[in-house]
């Protein structure tokens, strides 16, 4: 019986790169987040060699480690929120409760063999003008959101001093157990409560920075020659 046909060169290279099939390309080209560019330039030796000033002489980057984020890993993903389109565009001042948001991340591309080492939520808010003299400061809460069931218990509460810069929240160990492999999707309910009632903010953008270690692409560190 004939064995499976040998893959063509492109398919063989894809396989060597650990990719199941060639992505179709971004459905709509979106800007590459500056952090991802920075990580690429810092990590790619040929890129670094071309710009020697990036790599101090004698410094070698540890394999399977993301220096800039300080964790083990050889795959870094910047995952946009799939639910972004459905959100109302403008911050609102409400007399009652501020709105809650549901964010949804597609993690189907993460293989079961990959071990998450960092899952950082990045949130950009737009705040309505708070009343003069109102106390600044907010409290962010994160809970699991299950479709058709509603919101689960709050997993993470975090004080937020200001909204001018992106708010980061670490999910590993809070909304995601340390040694658990990635679910196929991650759906969360967010709420941002102001210290001063009535000054609600609007969630402009949400993304997840996920670092994983695929041990199949990692070689045990070579023993130093005797």
């Amino acid at each position: 019986a004939r064995g499976p046909t040998a893959p063509g060169p492109a398919a063989a290279l894809l396989q060597a790169l650990g990719l199941r099939d060639a992505p179709r390309g971004a459905p709509k080209p979106r800007p590459v987040p500056p952090l991802m560019w920075r990580l690429f330039r810092r990590r790619d030796p040929q890129e670094a060699r071309a710009k020697l000033r990036w790599t101090p002489p004698g410094a070698t980057l540890r394999p399977c480690h993301v220096e800039e984020l300080g964790v083990a890993g050889n795959i870094v993903r910047h995952i946009p929120d799939r639910g972004a389109q459905a959100r109302t565009p403008k911050p609102t001042m409400t007399a009652g409760q501020c709105p809650e948001w549901t964010i949804d991340f597609d993690l189907s591309a993460v293989e079961p063999a990959e071990l998450p080492s960092r899952a950082r939520l990045e949130l950009r808010f737009e705040a309505a003008e708070a009343k003069a003299g109102a106390a600044p400061g907010w409290e962010l809460s994160v809970a699991p959101a299950v479709e058709g069931v509603g919101t689960g218990p709050v997993l993470l509460r975090q004080a937020v001093a200001a909204l001018e810069t992106p708010v980061h929240a670490e999910l590993l160990g809070a909304a995601w157990a340390w040694n658990a492999s990635a679910p196929r999707s991650l759906c969360l309910a967010l709420a941002l409560r102001p210290q001063a009632p009535g000054a609600c903010a609007h969630l402009a953008e949400a993304s997840l920075l996920l670092v994983t270690l695929d041990p199949r692409l990692c070689h045990p560190l070579a023993r130093p020659r005797r």
Partner: protein, 119 residues
């Protein structure tokens, strides 16, 4: 793009040869953001003496390779020459869009031949 294969002659000693892998050639330029390609290189050349004995700064010679080259020079039919293979490799990183519209940075060890040796 590859440096043409070598025949006999002095430049045929074992060393790294230029091989550039262009992602555009493989049709991946729509989803690979960076780099455009990478210098993978490859090893080729004779591992007879003295090529088997690398010069200063090269990888340490393996005694077995030297022994084999010696045997070959004495009785060519008895033992073939050692092989010219990668002796030192370095990694690359690839930044791309995947099918879920994520921006992905993947790091791959041992993708570029920096140095060849006789084994």
């Amino acid at each position: 793009e590859a440096e043409p294969a070598v025949g006999g002659g002095p430049s045929s000693a074992c060393r790294a040869r230029r091989l550039y892998v262009s992602f555009r050639e493989v049709g991946w330029h729509r989803w690979v953001i960076a780099p455009r390609g990478f210098l993978a290189n490859y090893c080729q050349g004779q591992c007879s003496l003295p090529a088997t004995l690398p010069g200063p700064g090269g990888p340490p010679a393996l005694n077995h390779a030297v022994l084999r080259a010696l045997m070959h020079s004495a009785v060519p039919s008895a033992a073939g020459l050692p092989c010219c293979v990668p002796a030192r490799l370095s990694p690359i990183s690839v930044l791309f869009f995947d099918n879920s519209d994520n921006v992905v940075l993947r790091h791959y060890e041992d993708m570029v031949v920096d140095e060849c040796g006789c084994r």
